[in-house]
């Protein structure tokens, strides 16, 4: 693949600017829809993120970025909109449903109005926030805690009709999970409508990214979603490396793969167990939670952190896997693989379990596509989107890569199996990486970096839920002025309601668990 493909995308007469993998060019509001929809519909490029930056201090007003990936070429293209002297931008949501939530988010946090948006309600910030509070504007102090406001209660969609009632669940759930609110409208047991409402774990992370010192920024990225600490940090570091022009040592690339796959293993095993527990299949639950704990303990032994925190760093990784540790890891993983296949053999032959999983929580393919689902949810539809192959990072370009999972119903069973097939694949990837890993340095000696000024970069990593995207922009001084984070959950949350509709209430926990989305990563 060549750079020409990327260049041919840019419409004539536009000045494109390319740094590393990311090509950006400015578009006029009037032609925005044509340009973006050309990329989205004709070129069929996956939309990675829409976000905004506040560059009024530098006299450039607000900018809105529409970031697309070019799979296979490992390049990204981002038309952007400059809003000078206006807080209105044309909404693409009616034509491109994926833009729906992004635009609401921009509207909420930047106070920019998406003109023509069908449902322009605030996202994440609840009615107890003042209406004119836009935290991601530069003139909003990160320590300012706004007064408590009494806004209108959130207008959940009401299903009319006699006998329909609502079940409110959350934010404090009965299980040990993150907080979020689900509003079911039910006809007896059947869910006729489900509306999740999130934002309960909003901690101002994106604002903090702008304010904290660099080491803390990296620590913060590990805490965006605790279960994906390493992947988030890796995505952030990759973006920073692109801005700093740092290259990563070869050995570190392999180590990154190993750690990322260990994280995937732990979470997939945990999820498989949790799905089985929610279906009431206690054997599978206990066995998988045991296997997951084994991975967590391996993590602890290798890196002193069960969540692989403090492992990823700009330019490399901080934790080495010595040869004897590698040997032990190999034997442990082989044992776990064997153990796991034994568990799945039993689970796969349990008629009662399969009956619970198959056809439960189906998402229609069209809805999944139009909402841009990623990761496990997409693989359950047979949509082969995987950043490890589409935008190879670390050492993935040199490693065995399995084919995508090819079920297409998009039900709980498919999401279950998407995980179950990735578990042995991950182990294979780690084993290959361990044997192919070249000797050498793993981390650059000095921690001083200088970032390109007034530039932007993208980091993308296939976390265990789906691809994690970090968009980082620097200001005139080369300081990081904006970090936009897109966890895969942000997209996948939008289809959860459709997955549950038509199913019965007692099956919802199972459906929810089969997605196992991050609240924290969505709320930021």
């Amino acid at each position: 693949m060549t750079e020409q493909t990327a260049d041919s995308i840019i419409p004539a007469g536009h000045q494109a600017e390319t740094h590393g993998q990311l090509t950006v060019f400015s578009v006029h509001p009037a032609e925005l829809e044509t340009v973006v929809l050309h990329l989205y519909r004709e070129r069929q490029l996956p939309l990675l993120m829409i976000t905004a930056t506040d560059e009024r201090v530098e006299g450039r007003g607000f900018r809105i970025w529409y970031i697309f990936g070019i799979p296979g070429e490992n390049r990204f293209v981002a038309p952007f909109l400059c809003l000078d002297g206006t807080v209105e931008f044309p909404s693409l949501a009616p034509a491109m449903h994926e833009a729906w939530a992004y635009e609401r988010r921009i509207q909420t946090f930047f106070g920019l109005r998406a003109v023509g948006h069908p449902h322009p309600l605030p996202l994440i910030l609840h009615e107890n926030w003042p209406a004119d509070c836009y935290p991601l504007r530069k003139d909003f102090g990160w320590r300012t805690r706004p007064e408590s406001a009494q806004g209108e209660p959130y207008p959940f969609q009401k299903v009319a009709g006699e006998g329909i009632y609502e079940i409110p669940v959350g934010p404090v759930h009965a299980g040990i999970i993150e907080p979020g609110h689900f509003r079911f409208s039910v006809a007896g047991e059947e869910v006729v409508h489900l509306e999740p409402r999130l934002g309960y774990t909003h901690k101002g992370s994106e604002k903090l990214f702008e304010e904290l010192p660099l080491p803390d920024k990296i620590r913060l990225s590990e805490k965006i979603s605790g279960d994906s600490s390493f992947s988030h940090c890796l995505a952030f570091c990759q973006a920073l490396e692109a801005l700093a022009g740092t290259s990563v040592f070869d050995r570190a690339r392999y180590l990154r793969v190993i750690y990322a796959e260990l994280e995937r293993l732990a979470n997939h095993l945990g999820d498989l167990g949790a799905i089985m527990v929610d279906a009431g299949f206690n054997f599978g639950g206990a066995q998988c939670s045991r296997l997951r704990e084994m991975i967590m303990q391996i993590n602890e032994i290798l890196t002193k952190s069960r969540f692989l925190r403090g492992v990823c760093a700009i330019g490399g990784v901080t934790k080495e896997i010595a040869s004897e540790a590698a040997a032990r890891l190999t034997s442990d993983l082989l044992r776990i693989k064997e153990d796991f296949s034994g568990v799945m053999e039993v689970a796969g032959s349990s008629a009662s379990l399969l009956n619970r999983l198959i056809t439960t929580g189906e998402v229609p393919m069209e809805i999944a596509r139009e909402h841009g689902v990623v990761g496990i949810a997409a693989k359950a539809h047979g949509i082969a989107s995987d950043a490890r192959r589409d935008y190879p990072y670390a050492a993935y370009d040199r490693l065995f890569f399995p084919t995508a999972f090819a079920q297409a119903r998009g039900d709980v069973y498919d999401r279950f199996m998407a995980r179950a097939t990735e578990v042995p694949d991950s182990i294979t990837i780690i084993l290959t990486a361990l044997s192919a890993m070249p000797p050498g340095e793993i981390k650059p000696p000095s921690p001083s970096f200088s970032f390109r000024k007034n530039a932007q970069a993208l980091g993308i990593v296939e976390g265990w839920r789906g691809n994690i995207v970090y968009f980082v922009r620097t200001d005139e001084k080369g300081e990081i002025s904006r970090v936009a984070v897109r966890d895969p959950s942000f997209l996948n949350w939008t289809v959860l309601g459709y997955a549950a509709t038509g199913d019965i209430v007692p099956d919802f926990p199972l459906i929810n668990k089969s997605f196992n989305l991050s609240y924290s990563g969505n709320d930021l």
């Binding site: 009431g280 299949f281 206690n282 066995q287 009662s352 009956n355 209430v505 926990p509």
Partner: protein, 308 residues
Amino acid sequence: MHTFFDILQILLIPLASPLITGVIKKLKAKFQNRRGASVFQPYRDLWKLFHKDEVISQDASWIFRLAPCIVFAVTLAVGAIIPLIDLATFAAPAGDLLTVIYISAIGTFFLALAGLDTGSAFGGFGSSREMTVSALAEGGLLFSFLVLALVAGSANLFSIADSILTTGNFYLQPIVLAGIGFFIVLLAENGRFPFDNPATHLELTMIHEAMLLEYSGRRLALMEWAAANKLFVFMTLGANLFFPWGLMHTFSPGALAAAVVIFLLKIAALCLAIAFIESTIAKFRFFRLPDILFVSFTLNIVAIGLIK
């Protein structure tokens, strides 16, 4: 002597029932390669709950406040009129199969009302599910007893146990079929797998626990205890009516010892069966549950066909 046994019987059910749930939990933990809590854990839980304060919903009426007493009293009353160790008690005048079924229905009735009383959505659908399951379980329950009554020529539980003890072998097939039918109902009525998951934390899937979500402190303790009693009562019914071997006919120390030992063995076997089911299969989808209950009913119909 009988008075002594009568009093013993009234006390034995509530005193021993937490142990039953403790044993089942222990066995389930073993199936999951865990050590699990002590078999006496339910006693500690109850003891603690009885010493805690209560928070009661403002919307709750006296139904909610009185229901635990009623539900518990009902399990006591049923426990007093079923054959436990010996075959002669003061309770025989009330020990008719219909009486036992309908007295326990009082407990279900008030439990379901209590679930509705606070106006929480969880309590509401908990009640709805409970009533759905128990309404459909009634056919199987009644008919499994009816099979025995037809074999025994009497609907009195004590006469049934007595007569199955002596003539049961002629009718082994129908009794076993009815026994399976009864076991299904036992699982349904007591919120065990595959009907309900007593260990779940997911409020949306709950049946029995959803109705108790609003209870706290001593009323919660009473409700949990009553549930344990009910399980024990059903297990006793299953053990002593369908397999009445070992019941004491006339009092003698030897017979008493044998009766107690055999009874405990039967209960242990039932505990193991429940733990085994809960460890090896998944909970069923809600709308598959009626099918199992109709299976229970049909098994009993077949059993009646075999008798006639």
